[in-house]
Amino acid sequence: MTVFKLPDLGEGLSEAEILRWHVKVGDQIEVDAPMLSVETAKAVVEVPSPVSGTVTALHAQPGDRIEIGAPLIEFAADAAASQAAARATLSAASEDSGTVVGHMPGLSDADAAALEAANAVTGPRVRAVPAARALARSLGVEVGTVTGTGRGGLITLDDVMAVGMPGANAASKMHPATATRPPAAGGDVEVLRSLRRAMAQSMALSRDSVMACSVFDDADLHSWGTGRDYTTRVLRAITTGVRTEPGLNAWFDGKSQSRTLFEQIDVGIAVDTIDGLLVPVIRHVEKRSAAQLRVELDRLKRAARDRTVGSEELRNFTFMLSNFGSMAGRYATPIVVPPAVAILGTGRVRRDVIAAGERVEIHTRMPLSLTFDHRVITGGEAVRFLGAVIADLELPE
């Protein structure tokens, strides 16, 4: 059996999208016959068959994005072709790129595992860009101990920096592999991936572009009945706020110094998951009833926590809401994520002692924190928005 893995079809690419298979499982194919069309960052590329044989498995579907080196297709090679394929496999396996790697005919999984174990004893191969090696040397980091996040585990400059310069508490981690210096307690370095990495990037983008200004106040919920649904009320209040100050439901492009105001209110809801922060978007908040909002909210939160939420449902919010107070926290300075221009945070709902006229009373109140991008929203607009939100929240059920 031969497993063909996606080779680097350009120069230094990391992935490709499957466009079309020209074969299906069970097909006989000749070496060099058309097999597959893929699209890389550079080009649409026709990939011919690397061997003559029978297709036994396809590991990707049209539309899938496949990383370089991932298995694409398996063949049972013809008797005549198998020798050549084995040779190709052997030869390719010794190449750095490791782009075509298969099993030797007759090599069982147990054998393969044994080989892998044997390799593990001699130590994993270290692949790093030269600049990363140089940086590692200057930082005193043994490059072999760095976890590579580049293509095929390639160690990048960022990876070395994550180990060698991880901020203020870096000192204890400077020589993680040095036997004479035990790592500090809980000192394993974790390179950010996926959601956490996305958060790091969008927060940095916000820091580098948004001129954030936050304002705080409370909504008095004393007039509410029982069975309160805070989030749907807050969504309705946002709609009211946007009607008062449309400038907060907008995108701003700092490069072209242009803003786009939206009729449609699509609110990104920050959802805390085990893997990190997800922001599914609830569309047309201005058109939905409270009941509809609740159904959609529940669906999105569930989908976010199961990680079944579609990428379309995570894009293009026009306003953002963080109800961090469902856990703890009274006020915050929530972060505006461009191109949106504002975010409302709701703190923990609490019973406060307040001055009601000349009397002291205990009222339920919701702390509100509004951050807006002062490049494009004036302070007046922001507080008028917040005032409208509060007025709407304070209406009876």
Binding site: P7, D32, P50, A92
Partner: protein, 361 residues
């Protein structure tokens, strides 16, 4: 009436021997009577194309690095090879496998080179020829230098240099031809105008009507030929080579052809050129044209074609097997051939590479 008069006038002749269907346009050069030479030249074009097709497939399946196809250039490349003498010196860009094969370079060498193994530039049968030159235009000063050496040594040889249409915009090109012109060097420069410098068409490359006319500023005779016409390429370059070898100075020949392939395997030409343009160019491609000419003279039968294709495929397969079975070089190879004596910094790099190579296996 006034003080104005014409002090110099120039023209660029254009030559072709065959039309697009392989029909002679007039009297053919005398050497065309050599049937075996014609058949050999045709075979070399098919050989180059067979290899070329396989090389692209090898890249697509992860067995070869980035590769620049020569599809459509076969007449321009083989014609130049056929016009040279064995002791001339060849300077190429990176596509001219048809010329290299003619000079005796092995298919294995070309595969090794594009597989990242510098041993692929150790040409056994034409050791004086220079390797592929990827930095655009940089081969031109090398070629002028070699031509100067030939002149100083008073040898009856010449340097032959290829350059592409995009390359003629480079300073190195102008400097080299200026030097060749003023010193009357034995240099033949073949501009392979395949109309596209990656995605830049010739009309966006230069306001000049022809690329050949750039020779006028250097005082070098120049002409334009149909680069898909094997006969005229061999004939025009042959004349230039003989003149250069006899001390008659340099010549610049612009060969008009068309890059039927992507620029390299990293490129996707459909993004910047039309299917109609490509289809029209396919109708003028050189191999079918030459085959029709041979057939019209009774020099080529279907059996010849079948036999040739089988032989070429077999030869390519054998070279590929040999290539895939070639043991990898050590990392020292990156350092060993750059300086006669390694500098301390390079020595440190070589030693570092050795340490990591040991980790990697």
């Amino acid at each position: 009436m006034s003080g104005q008069r014409i002090v110099a006038q120039f023209e660029i002749p254009y030559r072709a021997c065959l039309d697009g269907d392989g029909v002679p346009l007039g009297a053919l050069p005398a050497w065309v009577d050599d049937a075996e030479l014609l058949r050999h030249m045709y075979r070399m074009m098919v050989r180059a194309r067979t290899f070329d097709t396989k090389a692209v497939n090898l890249q697509r399946t992860g067995k070869l690095g980035t590769y620049p196809s020569c599809l459509g250039h076969e007449a321009a490349h083989v014609g130049v090879g056929a016009a040279m003498h064995a002791d001339d010196v060849l300077f190429t860009v990176y596509r001219e496998i048809g010329t290299k094969f003619w000079r005796g370079v092995d298919m294995l060498d070309i595969l090794l080179y594009w597989g990242g193994d510098e041993r692929g530039t150790r040409y056994q049968r034409s050791p004086q020829d220079f390797p592929f030159c990827v930095p655009i235009g940089s081969q031109m000063p090398h070629a002028a230098g070699a031509a100067l050496a030939i002149q100083i040594r008073d040898q009856r040889r010449c340097a032959v240099a290829f350059i592409g249409d995009g390359g003629t915009s480079q300073g190195a090109f102008y400097e080299a031809i200026n030097f060749a012109g003023v010193r009357s060097l034995p240099l033949v420069c073949v501009i392979v105008n395949n109309r596209w410098a990656i995605s830049v068409p010739v009309v966006a490359q230069t306001a000049a009507q022809t690329l050949a006319q750039k020779a006028i500023a250097a005082g070098i005779p120049a002409l334009q030929v149909d680069g898909n016409d094997l006969l005229v390429v061999r004939d025009a370059v042959g004349d230039a080579v003989e003149r250069a070898r006899a001390g008659g100075g340099p010549t610049i020949i612009e060969a008009l052809t068309y890059r039927l392939s992507d620029h390299t395997t990293s490129d996707d030409a459909t993004r910047y050129r039309s299917a109609e343009e490509l289809a029209a160019a396919h109708r003028l491609e050189p191999i079918a044209r030459m085959r029709k000419f041979l057939q019209s003279r009774g020099l080529w039968a279907q059996a010849d074609e079948d036999g040739l294709r089988a032989a070429c495929s077999e030869e390519v397969e054998a070279a590929v097997k040999q290539y895939l079975a070639t043991p990898k070089q050590s990392t020292d190879a990156m350092f060993d051939y750059v300086y006669a004596q390694l500098t301390p910094a390079l020595r440190a790099q070589r030693d570092e590479a050795r340490r990591y190579a040991a980790l990697a296996h």
